[in-house]
Amino acid sequence: MTPGESPPLAHPAEGLAPAGPRASRMARRRGLWAAAALAALLLVPFWLSDRYVMHLWVTFYLFAALALAWDLIGGYAGQLSLGHAAFFALGAYTPVLLLQRWGLSPIAGGVLGAALAAAVAVGIGSIVFRLRGVFFAMATIAFAEIVRALLLHFRSLTQGDNGLAIPFTGERPLDLMFRSEAPFYVIALGLVVVTLAVTARMRRSRIGYYLRAIRDDQDAAESLGVVSRDVKLAALVASAALTALGGTVYAFDIGFINPDSTASLGLSIEIAIMAIIGGVGTLAGPIVGAGMIVALTQITNAALGSRGGASTALYGLLLMVTVLLRPAGLAALWSRPTGRRGERRGAA
């Protein structure tokens, strides 16, 4: 479907671009701006010599991509997943293991990891999408905890708690090993661009409208012929695959993975929080949220020393404030009208 066609289930608040020549002119201008911004961002590594600052940019891009990917299912479809770390872990462990066991390039390994995450998403999705609300959230937590327990248990494969280190064996681009941080800057930025492109395309597609219809009222959407399970599955598969790619970038950038850093409930929550604080269901929101959290972590670490906890406490506080004050423009996730208490949905 092209952007000009009228969607079957347009959401009035989503602000469709007006049709006609004016629209295409606007789209072209927006495309030019985006290209200019991208070119400017690509120049950053040339005047950044500090490896640490460059790594901060990589972290920001990585979290932005993860938050955008989460938003596909968490924001647009309104399915509050608190288990996305599981997909991240699949994307981190798969290429590392394939490289260490069979010398497979992590470029191929990352794609295989994303494929694995997508396949797992189909399996787990067909289970958890039968649930709604708090039961859905709890089921996604359980799923991620199962993945974490498996990673901890199969020590002969994953080294359990000790994790897997990727020793640096010289500049080998095909193995994603670089002396400089600059290539990871480009890779992570590329991941953001890909995720943004998938999201932007999804927003304009039939599935995008279906997702928002499901978010607003699943029963009404179903009654209009939307097969909510299939639509949500499509979103989850895309979200899982992109999240897994994030895991691959993380693994080879950091050079070390373990179940706590890749498959923990804390990571799942952090990903969700970034999208939510920034504003779900928008292109800019998850990026802004990721920037805020990365900056906040830096500032608190600088101000309060390396003692952990302060940044976690602050983003918890920030999340509570976001939920309670419900600023306009943020998060359709919780601004939709609610039924009366007695009518709220429990398990499917």
């Binding site: 649930l131 709890m138 799923f143 929080i273 906890g309 976690t312 208490r341």
Partner: protein
């Protein structure tokens, strides 16, 4: 056989504490339809309160059960009044995110203030045990189990026999009708949240001599309590106790006969299964 009995007994004793933690969670859910994702952090706070009060006063952890319970009851009242009350009647997502935010806040704050060290309360109890036939029972775990069962029974009696309990059940059943009948539902909600938090605080005090105290100690308890609450039926106190013991025994047997680190896996598989096959819980309808 001795190994089996020993594992099953250990599981049962810990299961009683799971049951108490879950009773608090299920009470809150039953009365106000809120799943408190910060429940585990209240357990952690109960453990830290026991640790610090014990250090300051030199009193035995069991003497501190009452003050810690009262303290956590007060914390619960405050949290309900300042935070939870504002999301009642809003979407599940808003309620989840608020308590998830509270959980992250409390965990982060505890890590910042107290550090990540594992703290233990040295009492002779920790290693004391009594032999019953072929089975050795840890005294501290036995006490924890006993207190948990007594408190859960007390909560059940409170709900079934007292006016306050009847008011709570009425508010759980239908808020508007309860209001029409002259029940101050705001007060009922504060009390329910306070009692639920107080119970998990006591569970923390009971665990303080048994387990190390550290900022993330509550996470596994909270996740287990979700499983137990769903297993026993959301809002069902008796179901929470029975569910707690089922999970406790299952975990202990898996840990003994299969692998220690697969015990949580079994718990979460049971959880997914229950959610799909019997979301109303094993024991049928809620009975708050």
């Amino acid at each position: 056989m001795a190994i089996f009995l020993q594992a099953a007994t250990n599981g049962l004793l810990l299961g009683g504490v799971y049951g108490l933690v879950s009773a608090g969670l299920t009470l809150i859910f039953g009365v106000m339809r809120i799943v408190n994702f910060a429940h585990g952090e209240f357990l952690m706070l109960g453990m830290f309160a026991t640790y610090w009060l014990g250090r300051a006063s030199g009193l035995h952890p069991y003497v501190l059960l009452v003050p810690v319970g009262v303290l956590m009851f007060g914390v619960g009242l405050l949290v309900q009044r300042a935070l939870i009350d504002r999301v009642l009647g809003r979407t599940d997502e808003a309620q989840i995110l608020l308590t998830v935010g509270l959980s992250a806040f409390l965990q982060g704050a505890a890590l910042f203030v107290w550090g990540a060290d594992y703290r233990t309360i040295p009492t002779p109890l920790a290693s004391a045990s009594v032999a019953v036939g072929p089975v050795y029972l840890s005294v501290a775990r036995l006490v924890a189990f006993g207190v948990a069962v007594v408190l859960a029974a007390g909560l059940y009696v409170l709900l079934v026999r007292t006016d306050l309990g009847r008011a709570m059940r009425a508010a759980a059943e239908n808020r508007e009708v309860a209001l029409l009948l002259g029940i101050d539902t705001g007060r009922i909600y504060r009390l329910a949240f306070g009692i639920g938090t107080g119970l998990v605080g006591v569970a923390g005090a009971l665990m303080a001599p048994v387990l190390a105290t550290f900022p993330t100690v509550g996470t596994l308890f909270a996740l287990t309590a979700f499983v137990v609450v769903v297993l026993g039926g959301m809002g069902d106190i008796v179901g929470a106790m029975i569910g707690g013991m089922i999970i406790g025994v299952t975990e202990a047997l898996i840990a003994t006969y299969v692998a220690l680190d697969l015990a949580p896996l079994a718990t979460f598989l049971i959880f997914l299964l229950i959610l799909l096959v019997r979301p109303q819980g094993l024991l049928g309808k809620g009975r708050v």
